[in-house]
């Protein structure tokens, strides 16, 4: 009898509707207004790669040891270097990083002995061309410059 009454008065459906009604409360709003309001990504976020430069003299920290290129599973890093006549040290000439093939695993970052290559918190890396995905040394040092929108 009780079961029948419950069935007639749609108890089970109202029980569910009560849950959805409770969640209508505006304090549970979860939507992020993305371009106007950017999410705060975590400190360890593995995003766009960056080649760090020494802030004092603007020289690159990279010692062109090629370890990142060897560690990369996709072999998308190409480092070229030449021995300098003056200092007798290896100096970086080009550093190419193909972000279109990158899966942001962070193995290059782990391999770098001088913390020159780093995956940063930047995550807006879209470009209009495929070529734009291949980052050269200048792009890696400056980082991506996404458009800022005001709300």
């Amino acid at each position: 009898m009780r079961k029948l009454l419950k069935k007639i008065f749609l108890v089970d459906l109202f029980q569910g509707l009560w849950v959805t009604f409770r969640n209508q409360n505006p304090k549970y709003i979860y939507t992020e207004q993305y371009p106007a309001e950017r999410p705060k990504v975590a400190e360890r976020y593995r995003g766009a790669p960056r080649l760090n430069i020494n802030p004092d003299n603007g020289e690159t920290l990279c010692i062109s040891c090629n370890l990142c290129a060897l560690a990369c599973p996709e072999t998308l890093i190409v480092v070229t270097s030449a021995r300098s006549e003056v200092t007798k040290r290896k100096e970086l000439i080009t550093f190419t990083y193909d972000t279109s093939r990158c899966m942001f695993c962070g193995l290059c970052e782990d391999a770098c002995p001088v913390d020159a290559l780093e995956l940063t918190q930047d995550f807006e890396m879209a470009t209009y061309t495929r070529e734009g995905q291949i980052w050269d040394r200048q792009m890696l040092e400056e980082g991506p410059k996404p458009t800022q929108y005001k709300c």
Binding site: Q15, R44, A71
Partner: protein, 370 residues
Amino acid sequence: MPDQTFLDSTELVLNMGPQHPSTHGVLRVILKLDGEKVLGTECIIGYLHRGVEKIAENRTYAQFNPYVDRMDYVAAISNGLGYCLAVEKLLNVEAPPRAQAVRVILTELNRIASHLLWLGTHALDIGAITPVFYCFREREEALKIFEKYCGARLTTHAFRIGGLLYETYDGFEQDIRDFCNMFIPKVDEYEELLTNNRIWVARLKNVGVLNADECKEYGVTGPVLRAAGVKWDLRKAQPYSGYEKYEFEIPTCQNGDTYDRYTVRMEEMRQSIRIMRQAVESIPEGPIMGKVGKVVKPAVGEAYVSIEAPKGELGYYIVSDGSTQPYRCRVRPPSFVNLQALDRMIHGGLIADVVAVIGTLDIVLGEVDR
């Protein structure tokens, strides 16, 4: 010319997928129909084949680690754990206790995230739209913990061979505790929405029945097996990564229908919370990386390790020829094996049940095709 005309034929062949939204990816099912009744099915897989096992043969052991995340991409951490354990077995090292505890916490958190995605999409297939929003809201909290811990939300690459690379961040324990406290009332909320709902019950009860013997014949594992009443969980049967230290139940049901699988998975989420609560209170101090050299170079040999992934038994079989690259890496994916039971489950059912049964198997096509 055949004597039979179109009007005489009783069997209609219908393609479901590969773009059908409720096949959870790119599964193509050829349905043989008599009206609304399903006479037989045939699964066409391989639309997402990326050759992961072959890729393994051309990568070093450490380099292959991020690729395993891309097989079952909703439970990437479980995949990583299985692979790391297999290589550790090959190297004959063991992760330090602290690393093991953190691994257990993150794997259980991933189990919850995976089951939440399953619940949301499964309910969406059946026709209940609300749970998907609630489930993704809670899943977001779990993904935030992953992001804080290792820097990625989905394809995490959280574990390394021999232990962990990342030390836990400040406030990790508190985040886990907060998640546990927040999550239990939310599971009750989902149950309130679905468990007694008459449409939900009518769509799921006695649909896609697979009894215990059939489960064993097909090699089906995970919640699908436990819903048929078999108390089999690799975390209890052959504990790995310190699971023997934690107390938890193996939830089982009797009928082995779609509703029972739902019940089992809901209960599993509660048990995961229970494990996480115990583990987070007892994370030992100490190193997080075992004695593994910079270059992973195991001796000639082979190793098979299987773990209890959210979807079932996930096994890695690795053969080493003594070089830095695996000679062969074979994966035993739970989704692929569970999918084989699909035909048995929906034979004689209705066409609307196909969607429910595919949903309840909790397949991920990235893992089926590899």
